[in-house]
Amino acid sequence: MSSVRDLDVGAVRDALSHLLVDVNYNIPPDVLDALRAAVVREESPLARRTLEQIVRNYEVAAIDQVPVCQDSGMTVVLLEVGQDVHFVGGSLHEAIFEGIRQGTSRGYLRQSVTGDPTRLLKMAGEQAPGVIHIELVAGDGVQLTVASKGFGGENMSALRMLVPADGVAGVRDVVVETVDRAGANACPPLIVGVGVGGTFETAALLAKRAALRPITLRHPRPDIRELEADLLDRVNALGIGAQGLGGVVTALAVNVEVAPTHIAGLPVAVNLNCHSTRRATIAL
C-alpha cells in the first residue's frame, strides 16, 4: 500500500502568488524566441516594426519588472494532483484564491474580475478571483500550472459541435474561421489552442490546455502533428499579420489536443492566446 503525502495548502498559496507575478513580468522564452524569429520572417514592413515593438515591450517589462500587459487577465489554475496527496492546513480552493489575491496585490497587477458578470459596473471579484481546474492523477506529486488569460483572445474563442460527416475538413474550417473572425482583436500573432473531441465542456478545456502547451512541443501523434502544421499554414495565409496590420505571421503556433468522443459527435473548441501568453508550470 502506498503512503499518503501531506502537503500544506500554504505551499500552494505561496508558490502561486510568486508564479503569478513572475508570469506577468516575464514572457516565456519559447514565445519570445518565436517572436524574434517572426521579426525575421515577416515580409510586411509595418507588421515587422510592430513585432519589433512587441519584443521590445517584453524586454522592457522584464528589466523594469512590470506587467507585460495591463490586462493581467483572469487567473487560470490547473492542478494535477497525485491521488496519494493529502492537503492539510485549510481549504485548497481558498489557498489558491488567496495566492491569486496576494500575487495580484504584490505584483501591482490589475484586478480585472467582477463578481457579477451581468452588471459590469460592480467591481467585486474578490470572492473567486480565478478559475480552478483539478485533475487527479497517479502518484504523490502535484503539478501547478498558472496562466493569466487576457480577454482579448478569450472573447474571440469559439466552440462548435460538428457532426462526424464534417470530419477533419470541418475542424480545419472552424479553426480558420475563428482566427479570421478574431482578426486584430485577439492581439495577433496568436497561439491557437484547439481541442477536438470529448464533450461540450471537455473540448473547451482541451483547447485551453492546448493553448498553454509550450510552442516548441509538437503533438506526439504524427497525424495530429501534420494537422497542426497544416492549420498553422492556413491561419498564416489569412494575411491578418501582427495586430491585423497585414502580414505573413498571424500565429506563432497551432497546438491541437484530441480526446475520445461519442460516435454521433465532433466537438471542436478553439481557444486563442494573444502574443502575451503568460503561463508557467512547477512541481510541488
Binding site: 515593438q53 517584453y58 522592457v60 507585460v68 490586462d71 459590469l120 482578426g183 486584430a184 497585414g246 502580414g247
Partner: protein
C-alpha cells in the same frame, strides 16, 4: 513605409484631414481614457441630459484600463483594449464632439459607421505593449468615476505615443485593405 507623422494635440484639436489609413503617427498631448464601464456612464449621462464630468468636444479618447502604478511610476502598464466592445456608445459620444479614438482591434460595418458619419479618426495602438506605452505617458489624473478602479476616467498626457491610422477621415479602413493585400489562397 512612409515617415512617422506627428499629431500635436497640446493646444487644441489638431487637423487630421491629411492622415491616411495605414499612416504611422506619434501623438503628443491630452487623451481621455475610455472603458466599458466609463463609456456606459458617459453615454447614459448624455442620453439623460445630465451634466458630464468632462468636456468631450474636440477630445481624443484612448481605450485603456491601466494596471496599478508602482510607487515610482506615473501609471502602470497601459496598452490599448479592444475598441469594438464600446462601439455601441460611439454614436452618442461622437455626437458630443469626440474627434478621435485610440484603441486596438478592428471595426467593421455598424461599428465603423459612426466614424464615417462624424468624421472621427480611429487609431490603433499595439495591443500587448503595456510596459512600453506606459513610458510615453507623462501624467495621469483621475477626473471622474474613481470608484471604477481601472475603468475610471483618466486624463493622460502623452508624448510621441505610437499609433497607426486605421479609419481615416475619407472613411478608408486599413485593417480591411491590409488583410486583402496579404491574404494568400490555400488549397
Amino acid at each position: 513605409m512612409t515617415d512617422i507623422a506627428k499629431l500635436d494635440a497640446r493646444s487644441g484639436t489638431p487637423s487630421m484631414t491629411h492622415l491616411r489609413a495605414g499612416d504611422a503617427v506619434e501623438v503628443t498631448g491630452r487623451l481621455l481614457t475610455l472603458r466599458d464601464a466609463s463609456a456606459a456612464r458617459l453615454a447614459r449621462a448624455i442620453d439623460s441630459g445630465d451634466r458630464l464630468p468632462v468636456w468631450l468636444d474636440g477630445q481624443i479618447l484612448y481605450a485603456v484600463g491601466p494596471s496599478p502604478a508602482k510607487p515610482d511610476q506615473i501609471i502602470g502598464s497601459a496598452g490599448p483594449t479592444t475598441t469594438a466592445r464600446m462601439a455601441r456608445y460611439f454614436p452618442t459620444l461622437f455626437a458630443a464632439g469626440v474627434r478621435a479614438v485610440i484603441g486596438k482591434g478592428e471595426l467593421h460595418g455598424d461599428e465603423m459607421a459612426p466614424f464615417t458619419a462624424h468624421g472621427v479618426v480611429y487609431f490603433a495602438a499595439i495591443g500587448g505593449l503595456g510596459a512600453l506605452l506606459a513610458k510615453h505617458i507623462t501624467a495621469a489624473t483621475v477626473i471622474a468615476f474613481e470608484e471604477l478602479g481601472p475603468e475610471a476616467l483618466y486624463a493622460l498626457d502623452v508624448e510621441a505615443f505610437p499609433v497607426v491610422t486605421i479609419i481615416d477621415m475619407a472613411g478608408r479602413n486599413f485593417h480591411e485593405d491590409a488583410r486583402a493585400r496579404w491574404r494568400r489562397h490555400t488549397p
